[in-house]
Symmetry: C2
Subunit: 217 residues, 2 copies
């Protein structure tokens, strides 16, 4: 991490430093949503936040550090839901439904989330890929694997491959948030609003149950 | 389109020109698969093909033209399947199953296909977005809308929103092909082979039927 220089705003109290980091993350998030892009420059983030771009280096080390902090901010509420679901006293089927809604809601709040994860998994080198994997991919895969095993043990679920389950579920939830062009050209729709969010949850829930619930025959 | 210059290989016969264009597309496709990236430079495509990069300008006008030609090459077999399915004398359910397999098989052959479509829809300007939409998005949406209507009219399907159907189906099929890192870190798997392809088709088929077939109650 670069040592702060005299050209930077004085960091001030611990609380000020937290507020500055929060503003930088909010600026990065806003730009990604507006542009439908995860590739935003430090200069643009600084301009939007009204802060000096040197503060990015001070708070996050570099752009990768800022992207990782943004991912942690956005994904942590989704991961908290998983954590609660692990301890939640309800059937595997009920928890599976809550899991689907949790994923769609996370993408609804942060439509760039899956692109940010993929950017960091595939284009920022092996160390960043490992961080994202440890922070996000592994906990989700472990949660889903346990849920699928528990559901099968109770006779609610058929045997399902956790790998296929993971990729099809995240893909089905994410693709609507990818970008405006297919929505616009294919359907004349300009944004994903609350009605579409609720219809997406209902549809993906039906899809996932259709491939997971124990067969009747 | 740029006028060919003396530094270029002589274009030769019509057949030679076709062979040259084919080699350039094959080189671009190979590089995208190897790198897991759609961003490949003209210089790299030229180097891989053993041809002069000026030939890209001669055959395709520019890089966008080459990318559009690659998309047409890769998506056209998938679109031919759709065309055949429209005339195929089988139940909507049987045609829906063939449609799912067709999409997965297209991604299996060209794992970069959805990224290439998204690159051209979102990052190459409105004219390219419109071309891709007219060539690919609209025919698929029209096919699926007709199939869903026919299935509902025959009592095989429930009423399904074509927009939600389109995005969840393509997302569920595509995500496994996105990149190697989540596969590797989450599951210790290094590539999508034929077994995984078949399991993906079976799982997505169950998902789609679960959200499409008429409810029993």
């Amino acid at each position: 991490m670069q040592v702060p220089t005299a050209s930077m705003a004085r960091p001030g109290t611990e609380q000020d430093r937290g507020a500055t980091a929060t503003r930088l993350l909010a600026a990065a998030s806003e730009l990604m949503i507006e542009r439908g892009e995860t590739e935003v420059s430090l200069a643009d983030i600084a301009r939007r936040s009204g802060l000096n771009s040197a503060l990015v280096k001070y708070h996050f080390g570099n752009k990768d550090g800022l992207l990782l902090a943004l991912l942690q901010r956005d994904a942590s509420s989704a991961l908290k839901v998983l954590d609660a679901l692990l301890r939640f006293d309800a059937s595997p089927t009920a928890r599976l439904k809550l899991h689907v809604a949790g994923i769609v809601n996370a993408y609804y709040r942060s439509p760039y989330l899956n692109r940010l994860i993929n950017l960091m998994l595939h284009h920022r080198g092996p160390d960043i890929a490992r961080s994202v994997s440890d922070f996000f991919v592994k906990p989700v895969v472990e949660f889903e694997t346990r849920l699928l095993e528990e559901g099968a043990a109770r006779g609610e679920f058929r045997r399902v491959d956790p790998l296929i389950f993971y990729f099809t579920l995240f893909g089905a939830c994410d693709h609507l948030f990818y970008g405006r062009q297919a929505l616009l050209h294919g359907f004349g729709v300009t944004e994903v609003g609350d009605t579409l969010r609720r219809r997406l949850i209902a549809h993906v829930t039906d899809m996932v149950l259709g491939a997971t619930l124990a067969r009747e025959d």
